[in-house]
Amino acid sequence: MTMNGSSAPPPVEVAPPPRHRPPWPSGLQANGSLGLGVLAAIGLLVWVGVNGYKQTLLVTAATYALIALGMYIPFVLAGSLSLAYGAYASIGGYAVALISTETRLPLWFGWLIGPVIAAVAAVILGLATRRLSGFYLVAVTLLFSEAFQNYLSNASFTGGNAGLASFRNLDVFGWYPSNEQLIIASAAVVCVVAFLLNRLRLSPWGIVVRSMREVPSAVEAAGTRVPILNLVALAMGAGIGALAGALFTQMSGSIQPDTFTLNLVFLAIFMPIIGGTGTPWGAVLGALIVVELTLNLPSLHTSGTLLVSLGVLLIMLVAPRGVLGYLDTGRKELMRALTPTKGTDG
């Protein structure tokens, strides 16, 4: 997204003041957000407590956040919009479900194999669409989602439209985590993924991927095979998306072909834009906002999704840096106000 980091255009044709960032990532940039993220997660967990409804909300929010984080590398960093994430999440979910119902393998194996299969599926779809970008890629991945959902409904091993249910409990080498422990683990997984993605964004790998969005020819000429890097980015995203599916399926205890709808994928595109594309934590914040608006506010009822979609348009038009982007600006302004001696030329 090129609106990432750019401020609204000035009304008159005056060159904007130069913007700057530290040339190399500082420890604060790479790790500072983790502290805030963990604090927020602990706050949420305390708020949730043992309330079953709130627990479901939190798991849903974690699922949304993971799908949005899965889209973060290909969509926000590399700039290619794929809408196949419903299919990837389904792969993750069905992997857990099938390992549980059809095999005697430990359940964590399902958590592992789902992301791998989803990554392979993403590479195959990516190879088939390697010449496509933009509108064409959106259209093909939409058609893929529909075809895949159709396949899940009609295949015999997936249980058809009824899907699969009643799974074994998750065991991790003999340890059977309780429901509360799993809830905490969901929040922890989101924090860890966001934290690692943020470090990845700042790493040399992240620089190459972010350059690929704007100037693929320069990246290619500098020695990175751009189509392959695209596939790697897609595969990583699909893996994280499958993790979301595994989490939701494990916690809800059932999965159907339409568990991960296209609506969810649309919302997942909007989450980083709402929260802020500058860091993966923006996608997490966006997921929390979307869950709050669409599921937790009874006064909004069905119009919560409408509010989200209109809100996204508004954010794109007037506040392209999202909520976190503005909080960050606010923080910098505050710091500058507190240290007046450093002058205005930061």
Partner: protein
């Protein structure tokens, strides 16, 4: 220089777009430590030739070798063999800082194959911060007098962007450096800086191919000049001879001008204007 093995050698290069022939049977050679100037009017095929050498576009036919090794396939593979280039329209990630753009040239080759991409992503996730590459990049920035690595590349002037592109290419430690109009839009300081870099690369025994409209400037810098006209090489040799050659007169001013005024000044006034993008 004649008895030295050639760095870069190409022959029979052809490129056509539909019915238009952009390159017609072009041969090119470059010795170690040599600076080759590539001149010609708009549409002569200069950038197409650079693209076909670097792999940004693929030639329809022809053979290219770099130090005896066959140059073929995508640009990334050729980069690994030692080619680096800049672009006529600077290709910089506008949202990234100057430092990050410089670092791209240094690290892109470490992401050469799919398993190295995965390896690098894991490495990048667990080891964030200053690397040895950052030190190298800072040395390059100092050499080119690029200051303020914390600015966003999109905020630079055109001249600064060209300098930054040269810096990014240097990060690749190239054997052959292809510079596509590096002076256009640069001020006197920028031009001097780029000329310094060209001399340094030359002293290391590497080769440079320099594309520009400005025949005077190019001929003062290069060891040899190649004049392109509508996809054909019409002159290949000594810069001073090239300026005086009838081919030069014909290509730049047309046959009529050549007949009308044999002593025509070789540098038209609008040459300066052409450098304004």
């Amino acid at each position: 220089m004649a008895d030295q093995p050639l760095l870069l050698e190409g022959s029979g290069l052809k490129k056509r777009y539909g019915g238009v022939v952009a390159l017609s049977d072009v041969s090119i050679r470059l010795a170690p430590g040599e600076i080759l100037g590539l001149v010609g009017p708009n549409g002569a095929g200069k950038t197409t030739l650079v693209d076909c050498i670097s792999g940004t576009q693929s030639a329809n036919s022809g053979v290219l070798t770099l130090k005896g090794a066959r140059l073929s396939g995508p640009a990334s593979r050729r980069a690994k063999l030692g080619l680096a280039r800049t672009f006529q329209y600077p290709q910089l990630a506008q949202d990234l800082t100057v430092g990050e753009n410089l670092l791209l040239g240094r690290v892109a080759m470490q992401h050469g194959s799919w398993w190295r991409m995965i390896l690098q992503s894991i490495r990048g996730t667990f080891w964030v911060g200053r690397s040895s590459d950052a030190t190298v990049v800072e040395a390059i920035a100092e050499e080119l007098q690029i200051t303020r690595l914390d600015r966003l590349a999109g905020d630079l002037t055109l001249g600064e962007q060209r300098l930054l592109e040269v810096g990014r290419a240097l990060g690749q430690d190239p054997v052959v450096l292809l510079l596509d109009e590096p002076f256009a839009g640069s001020d006197a300081n920028g031009v001097a800086g780029i000329i310094d870099v060209i001399r340094t690369v030359q002293r290391r025994g590497h080769g440079i191919i320099l594309v520009d409209h400005n025949v005077d400037l190019v001929s003062s810098l290069v060891d040899r000049i190649m004049l392109l006209d509508r996809g054909h090489v019409v002159f290949d040799g000594d810069p001073a001879q090239c300026i005086a050659s009838p081919e030069m007169q014909r290509v730049y001013f047309g046959a009529a001008a050549l007949e009308a005024d044999a002593d025509f000044e070789t540098r038209p006034d609008d040459e300066v204007l052409r450098h304004v993008p």
